[in-house]
């Protein structure tokens, strides 16, 4: 990445809330510092005069593929860049948009838009990483600013940072929070979820929602069992877990359990 000229960078959003791009904007002073070292040539959300065709050294892509146009954008970006970063939990795991993949699109469209519109061309929401290879995955809903900055600084130096692979419980314990499961009988997703957030939610007295996506090989069964033995309903467990912690492939199983519970 060490050229005489500043590396060319593009930042793109697929179907998403643009919260990760907003986090980058929120870097403010740090962003100005970076602007001296990188050349952001294509970022529709933040600037005008974008070059939509040039080669890129680094590209960041936020969001899920939920339309044909998303997929086209993603493939174009992939073709333009040598280093692609999946930015945020949607791009890495599917995140919230993938939450209702268990329902057919026409049902969702009818429920949300009363069926009165004809411009929708949505397909099942899937993470960008399902469609193209990426060089780096930066999870978070939204991403952590310091992790984004570390990544850029590291890329400029020719390497990549090692993100924490440990569960949220690690950071939660080191902050000496009262465990949301043990003391409050919450459906806390901390033990299934990848840390790096500093256990922000439990530190503010709220159970972990799992927004950074699952750790490798989370023990879903033992987590579900743990919540159930505390008297929490299957429906509640399924709802909380399928937000982020048990993405796409787990959702169906959990929901059928919840369904079973209702009868």
């Amino acid at each position: 990445m060490m050229h005489d000229a500043r590396p060319k960078v593009g930042i793109f959003g697929l179907t998403s809330c643009a919260g990760d791009q907003l986090q980058i904007l929120n870097c403010e002073d740090e962003l100005l510092r970076l602007a001296g070292r990188i050349d952001i040539v294509d970022w529709v959300m933040a600037k005008s005069g974008n070059d939509h065709t040039c080669r890129l050294d680094i590209a960041f892509v936020e969001g899920v593929v939920a339309t044909e146009r998303d997929l086209e954008t993603l493939r174009q970006v992939r073709a333009r860049t040598s280093f692609l970063v999946a930015l945020g939990t949607c791009a890495v795991w599917g995140g919230l948009p993938a939450m209702r993949n268990d329902l057919p699109r026409e049902v969702l469209e009818r429920e949300v838009y009363s069926g009165a519109v004809d411009f929708l061309d949505t397909v099942e929401a899937r993470p960008a990483t399902d469609f193209v290879p990426v060089e780096y995955r930066l999870p978070g809903c939204p991403i952590e600013r310091h992790e984004f900055l570390h990544l850029v600084d590291s890329l400029l130096a020719g390497t990549v940072p090692e993100l924490p692979a440990v569960p949220v419980c690690f950071e939660c314990k080191t902050r000496e929070n009262l465990c949301r499961v043990i003391y409050f009988d919450d459906v806390c997703c901390g033990a299934m979820t990848r840390g790096g957030c500093g256990a922000r939610c439990p530190s503010h007295g709220v159970a972990c929602a799992g927004c950074r996506g699952p750790i490798e090989e989370p023990n879903y069964d033992a987590n579900v069992q743990m919540f159930a033995t505390r008297g929490i309903s299957w429906r509640e467990i399924a709802t909380r877990m399928s937000n982020f912690s048990a993405p796409v492939w787990m959702t169906l199983g959990l929901r059928s359990e919840a369904h079973h519970d209702d009868h």
Partner: protein, 339 residues
């Protein structure tokens, strides 16, 4: 050992005086019935009687996260001093804590000395406080329910007063600096102390049979119990974090602006999946059950073979903090076939 007495009403003044010797840490009630170890200003907040803090004192010696070295990329790094804490006083150490400290010493000060640990250890004053077991304490089974040394001062509460054991020259310095607080112990003090000792011994309700445990474990390596616990364990690492003798750590390099590199040291747990992954991706303990077994074997088999004592002091923190209710005493009971 010099033995003195200290009246209860002088305790706050005594604790106040400890501030002269370093940053004063003591257990504080964080939520009803839940304690953590904090730096205290108002000595009335100190709760030396608290049985367990969420994290043990090990955080005073090696913080959960600190920068060991820092420097510009490609240049020779320096120690920024982040891991060196100056003089600290730990008020409210229990016998199990003091034994845990010895275990950490064995690990960190043998062979290569960990210079970060060594400096903080040298700077740590330990003021013990006599505790009373609850249903999760099993230190009596591990010979860690009393401490003859390893502290600077040790206070044992008696009716209206404390019996004070002076365990080191530094402890004696504290006494000499505050002569008006202490009186010589009387025979009545000693008698009451002995009575307390006897009654306390009988107060334990939990026990762990450690007879030949290292050998028993060797025989039970393939026991189905490890699969069963592996299926229940979340591998959240809570037990490792709260364990007073768990001290595994990870080292991660970070690049911050202007190519300044930091080598950061973080607590780690052998239960985390990547713990034994080597470059190239092979995981020597990919199976959850293997990782669970490894933790128990490390405590009660490997450490005994390496250092002559188990690296468990029976404090009960792992029992209190396991979200799925895995209980170390029950685990070893199952292994032995008692349950």
């Amino acid at each position: 050992m010099q033995t003195l007495r200290l009246s209860d009403h002088l305790l706050p003044e005594f604790v106040e005086s400890l501030k002269a010797w370093g940053t004063l840490w003591a257990p504080v009630e964080r939520a009803p019935g839940v304690f953590d170890l904090e730096v205290i200003d108002d000595v009335r907040r100190a709760r030396p009687d608290a049985l367990r803090t969420i994290l043990p004192f090990k955080k005073l010696l090696l913080k959960p996260r600190f920068t060991m070295l820092t420097g510009r990329l490609g240049e020779i790094p320096e120690d920024p001093g982040e891991g060196r804490h100056g003089p600290q006083v730990f008020f409210g150490a229990h016998a199990c804590d003091i034994h845990a400290l010895r275990i950490l010493d064995l690990l960190h000060l043998s062979n290569f000395q960990d210079s970060y640990y060594l400096e903080n250890r040298k700077n740590l004053m330990v003021v013990g406080y006599g505790c009373w077991p609850d249903e999760r304490c099993f230190c009596a089974s591990l010979d860690t329910s009393t401490a003859d040394d390893g502290f600077d001062l040790f206070l044992t509460p008696l009716e209206g007063r404390m019996l004070v054991s002076v365990g080191s020259s530094l402890g004696d310095d504290v006494v000499r600096a505050n002569p008006h607080l202490f009186e010589p112990a009387t025979r009545q003090d000693t008698r009451e102390y002995m009575e307390r000792l006897g009654a306390r011994r009988k107060a334990f309700t939990l026990s762990l049979d450690v007879t030949d445990l290292p050998y028993v474990l060797e025989l039970k390596r393939e026991d189905p119990v490890w699969r069963e616990i592996g299926a229940r364990c979340l591998c959240c690492g809570s037990c490792s974090m709260v364990c007073p003798t768990c001290s595994c750590f990870n080292v991660v390099d970070e690049l911050v602006p202007q190519s300044v590199g930091q080598r950061v040291r973080l607590w780690d747990s052998c239960l985390f999946r990547d713990y034994a992954v080597v470059a190239g991706g092979h995981n020597f303990r990919a199976d959850r059950a293997d990782r669970v077994r490894n933790r128990y074997y490390h405590k009660q088999e490997a450490f005994v073979r390496e250092f002559g004592v188990p690296s468990c002091v029976g404090c009960g923190r792992c029992i209190e903090n396991c979200p799925t209710g895995i209980n170390v005493v029950e685990v070893f009971g199952h292994v032995r076939g008692d349950l």
